[in-house]
Structure formats: structure tokens, C-alpha cells
């Protein structure tokens, strides 16, 4: 069996890639995609910890399903806001959305 640490390293890598994407991409949709990657790394973590821990305790699985549901809700609101920004400004590039600043 694959040791637990491999899953954790995989999820940490996924999390880092997602974080890098969210912080470095300029396209709003791509930023949302990066955040999705981070949420998926959380799911990998939770399922791996459940599988290698007490299998009869389904807390990890319940947590994962709730993360799915909430991630879907977040992205639904996120894409709706992207559309409202696009309609107003005709752009989805983060650098060009700069009305509010110090």
C-alpha cells in the first residue's frame, strides 16, 4: 500500500500549485481555478487521513462532501461576480480592475 506521506506530499504540492496560480494569474477565471485546486488538495488530505485512520469513523468523508458542496456554491457566486465585472468593464484581467485603491 502507498504510504500516507505520499498523499500528503501530493496534496501539499497541489495546494502550493493552486496558491501560486491564484496569486500569479491575471485572469479572474484562472484565479478561481487556482482556488479550486487548493480546495481539491484539502479533499485529498481529508480522504487520505480518513482511509489511514479509523475507517469506521466517517468524519473525514462527511467533511469532504461538505467541502464539495461549499466549493460549488463559492464558485457559483464567484462566476456570477466575474460576469457582473465583465459586463461593466469588458475585461476579466485583474490588473485592469483598479478603480479602488489607496
Amino acid at each position: 500500500m502507498v504510504p500516507l506521506s505520499w498523499y500528503l506530499i501530493f496534496s501539499a504540492a497541489l495546494f502550493s500549485i493552486g496558491l501560486f496560480g491564484a496569486l500569479s494569474r491575471r485572469n479572474l477565471v484562472a484565479i478561481l481555478l487556482g482556488i479550486e485546486l487548493m480546495l481539491n488538495s484539502v479533499n485529498v488530505n481529508l480522504v487520505a487521513f480518513w482511509r489511514y485512520g479509523d475507517v469506521t469513523n466517517i468524519t473525514g468523508q462527511v467533511f469532504t462532501i461538505i467541502v464539495f458542496a461549499v466549493a460549488a456554491a463559492e464558485v457559483a457566486v464567484g462566476l456570477a461576480l466575474v460576469i457582473s465585472v465583465y459586463r461593466k468593464r469588458n475585461t476579466v484581467i485583474a490588473d485592469e480592475i483598479d478603480m479602488l485603491k489607496f
Binding site: S41, F49, T59, I66, S84
Partner: protein, 484 residues
């Protein structure tokens, strides 16, 4: 098992849900011009819900309810009452907003967010906590970007969403590691797991740092404060007021319960209290210094709210019962004061369409009562007696001194003095300056009934909490007792 205890533990949320459904059902039957009455329905419903929960849903000894998902105690109850009061005041302030006032869904989003905040204050399980935080946040993202025709509002909504989901996801990664290392998501069992010392201190500190990112976004302390000024400026003013008060207090409710219950071990708490002490110091300095050059009243209040986060954190850092009580008391005073300040900004921009501090010139002659309320709000934010902000600062600083953080308290006093400059500067325009043509009597500021009710109630609250502070402090203390 669904017993009377589990019913009482979520009674406020059930009542808010009923108010929300009433809003949904009744709103379509009202004609367009009558639709702002939804605000009366929301505010009245929330007050009824507060009254019913106060009469029928008071907690006794702390108990777990609903399968260990919820902790039913005074701390959560006190926070719930604060959130519902803030929600009712916000609903009244929303009524005369052009784009929000006649839209039933705006009130519904407010109520949905309130349910989430109420649950944040009582969650005793990480899964429930995550769900509650998202229930509170997602409606607020939509509310911040609610004015679709407004460039600033759509941008504010999107910025708030991006910061929010990014930081919440980082916190969630921390939660997943906590679950992995301890095998449980119950906050009250976590303490036991961490006490055993199964986790290396450095790893535990890393996990706590991840969780602090998410909470830091909610309460807007310094490395995670960038969203606050932009979002407050862009979003509709009543929503900005709600964000800076109830949403921030909900973050503190989580911070208190999670960190005081689950990670109070000296080996562990030394690291996170030191981190939070440094963050508190930087928040006070950065918030107050960046507020100095601001010209927009909402941005000024945003930076001042970052500074106030720093003051509140002193109570958390103390990690004593007095510290927890002082945090709760500070938040009660701060919610009233800041809602009042945002309400005045709202009333003023409703009448004049202006948001800059220079535009407030001659306001005391245009509307003496509004000027007096602004005096109350800003002096309370400064920390002057006999207003709520003074007593709140005293108890927070007392908690800091008691726990040995003298340097932090000295810094807090110094930065309060810096804060007095920009608060009094705004009052200078209100009281000493005059309008360019000196014809203030021709430019009155009319106050509609919902504004008058909300602003008078908040002003009386600020004065009451600053003069008769013993009952409020006793309630805060009773809540803080539940953490130890």
C-alpha cells in the same frame, strides 16, 4: 435525539429563517413603492426573534447539542444577540438605499448571513465551523457586489470574494491537517489531543498559522487587511457597516472559542499569543497611520476598524478570563459605535451624494442632531468618556496589563492618541467649518424615519454602554467564564 435543549440551542436561527421565509413570501405581493417596508418586516422580525430567544432560549449550564456540533452557552448567546441587533439596525439603514431598499433579496441575503454568523459563535466542531463561516461569507460577497450598475460595487464584490475564498481555503487546509493529526473535528476533544503532545510544536504552530489566515481575513488584522478599505468604499454603505461590525465580531467569536478551548496549552499558546501580540501591535500602528491621510469617510472608517482590531486582539493575547470578557465587551461597544458611524455616513451621502470628509463642513448647522450623533460616534471611537469606546478600551488595556503585556498596552495608548487626531479632524469639519456660501439653513439634511430610529437607538446604546457598563460587563464576563 431532538430534545428541547437542542431546539433552544438553535432557536434564534430558526426564528431568523422564519423571518427570511416571510420576506420571500410577502415581498412579491407588495407593490414597487411599498416594497421598502420589507425593511420594517426584517428589523421587526429580528427584534421579535431576539425577544423570543431571550425569553425562551436562554442557556443554562454549558451543554453540547445536536450531536456535538453546537455548544449551547452564554458566550454564544451573547454574541447571537449582538449579531441580531446589528442585523436589525443594518436592515433599517438599508431601507432608504436606492438599489438595496426595495429589493427583498438584499434583506434575505442579510438574514442568511446572520444565520451563518450565529452558528459561527456556537460551533463546537470544525465541520460545523467551516459551514457556518461559508454561510456567513457567501451572502456577503453577493451583498458587497449588489449594485450591478456601479463600477465600484462590482469591483468591491469581486475583491471581497477573491480574498475571502482564498483565505478560507487556506484555513480549510489547516482544518484538514488538524483532523489528520488528531483524528477528531470536535473542538472540545482537540484540546485533549494537543495536550498529549502527539504533535511536534513546530508542526502545530504551522497549522495554527494556516487557521489564523482565515480568521485574520474575517477580523481584518494586518497582513490580511488589504481588502477592507477597498471593499468598504465600494460596497453599499449599510453593507460596509455590517461587514465592519457583525462580520468582524463573528470572526472574534471563532477566534475565542477555537483558540481558547482547543489550543490553550502553554507549550502551544506561547507561540500563537506572541504572534497575535505582534500582529496586534502592527495592526494598531498601520491602521492608525494609514487612516491619517484618508479623505473618504468610508476609507477612514475602514482603517480605523483595522486599528480597532488591534485593540481587541490585546484581550485575546491576554488569554485570561478578563481578556475574553474584555474582547466581548469591546465588540459590543464597537458594533454599536461603528454601525452609528456608518449610519451617519449613509444618511449624509443619501442627502448630499457626497462621501468626502471636507463635504461634512457645516454639518452641525445643517442638522444639529446628526452632528451630535457624529460627535458621539467619533468620540466613542477615540475612546473618550462617557461613551462606550472608553470603557471598552479600559477593560482591554486592563486585561493586557494583567497578563503582563505592558509594551502592547503602552503602544495601544500611543496609537489611540494618533487616532484622536483623525477622528477630531473629521469633527472639526462638522463643528468648526462652514459651507462655502455660509448658507447652511438652505441645505438641511432630512432624516427619514428608519434612519432616525436606527441612529437614535445606536446613539443611546453607545451612551448607555459607556455609562451603565456594569450589566454589560457582567454578561461579557458570564460568557467568558464558559471558555475556562
Amino acid at each position: 435525539m431532538f430534545t428541547s435543549i437542542s431546539f433552544a440551542s438553535i432557536l434564534p436561527e430558526i426564528l431568523i429563517l422564519i423571518v427570511g421565509m416571510l420576506v420571500l413570501i410577502i415581498e412579491p405581493f407588495w407593490k414597487e413603492e411599498k416594497r421598502r417596508n420589507v425593511g420594517w418586516l426584517t428589523a421587526g422580525g429580528l427584534f421579535a426573534a431576539m425577544l423570543i430567544s431571550f425569553l425562551a432560549g436562554q442557556p443554562g449550564a454549558p451543554t453540547s447539542a445536536l450531536g456535538g456540533m453546537i455548544r449551547f452557552d452564554w458566550l454564544g448567546f451573547f454574541f447571537k444577540m449582538l449579531f441580531m441587533f446589528a442585523g436589525a439596525a443594518t436592515a433599517l439603514l438599508m431601507m432608504d438605499h436606492e438599489q438595496l431598499g426595495k429589493r427583498g433579496e438584499a434583506y434575505l441575503l442579510l438574514l442568511a448571513s446572520l444565520i451563518g454568523m450565529n452558528l459561527m459563535a456556537v460551533s463546537s466542531d470544525l465541520i460545523m465551523l467551516f459551514l457556518a463561516i461559508e454561510t456567513a461569507s457567501i451572502p456577503l460577497y453577493a451583498l458587497a457586489g449588489f449594485m450591478l450598475g456601479d463600477d465600484k460595487s462590482t469591483e468591491a464584490g469581486f475583491k471581497y470574494l477573491l480574498f475571502g475564498i482564498l483565505t478560507t481555503t487556506i484555513m480549510l487546509y489547516g482544518f484538514s491537517l488538524v483532523f489528520g493529526f488528531s483524528g477528531t473535528t470536535d473542538i472540545y476533544q482537540l484540546a485533549e489531543m494537543f495536550r498529549v503532545g502527539a504533535i511536534a510544536p513546530l508542526a502545530a504552530f504551522g497549522i495554527l498559522a494556516l487557521i489564523l489566515v482565515g480568521i485574520g481575513f474575517k477580523v481584518a488584522f494586518v497582513p490580511f487587511h488589504f481588502w477592507a478599505p477597498d471593499v468598504y468604499e465600494g460596497s453599499p454603505t449599510p453593507v460596509a457597516g455590517f461587514l465592519s461590525t457583525a462580520s468582524k465580531a463573528a470572526g472574534y467569536a471563532v477566534l475565542l472559542r477555537l483558540f481558547f478551548i482547543a489550543f490553550p496549552e502553554p507549550s502551544l499558546s506561547a507561540s500563537w499569543t506572541t504572534t497575535l501580540a505582534i500582529i496586534a501591535a502592527i495592526s494598531m500602528i498601520v491602521g492608525n497611520l494609514l487612516a491619517l491621510p484618508q479623505t473618504n469617510i468610508k476609507r477612514l472608517l475602514a482603517y480605523s476598524s483595522i486599528a480597532h482590531t488591534g485593540y481587541t486582539l490585546i484581550g485575546v493575547v491576554a488569554l485570561t478570563q478578563l481578556g475574553a470578557a474584555s474582547v466581548v465587551f469591546y465588540l459590543a461597544a464597537y458594533i454599536l459605535t461603528n454601525l452609528l458611524a456608518f449610519g451617519i455616513a449613509m444618511a449624509f451621502s443619501k442627502a448630499t451624494g457626497l462621501e468626502n470628509i471636507q463635504d461634512y463642513a457645516g454639518m452641525s448647522r445643517r442638522s444639529p442632531w446628526l452632528g451630535l450623533m457624529m460627535l458621539t460616534a467619533f468620540l466613542s471611537l477615540t475612546g473618550m468618556p462617557p461613551f462606550g469606546g472608553f470603557v471598552a478600551k479600559v477593560v482591554v488595556f486592563a486585561a493586557g496589563i494583567q497578563a503582563g503585556y505592558v509594551w502592547l498596552v503602552v503602544l495601544g495608548v500611543i496609537t489611540s492618541v494618533i487616532g484622536a487626531y483623525y477622528y477630531l479632524n473629521a469633527l472639526k469639519f462638522v463643528y468648526l467649518y462652514r459651507m462655502p456660501n455660509q448658507d447652511e439653513e438652505n441645505h438641511p439634511i432630512p432624516l427619514s424615519r428608519p434612519y432616525a430610529i436606527a441612529l437614535v437607538a445606536l446613539t443611546l446604546g453607545v451612551i448607555l454602554i459607556g455609562t451603565i457598563f456594569a450589566p454589560w460587563f457582567n454578561w461579557s464576563d458570564a460568557g467568558a467564564l464558559n471558555l475556562f
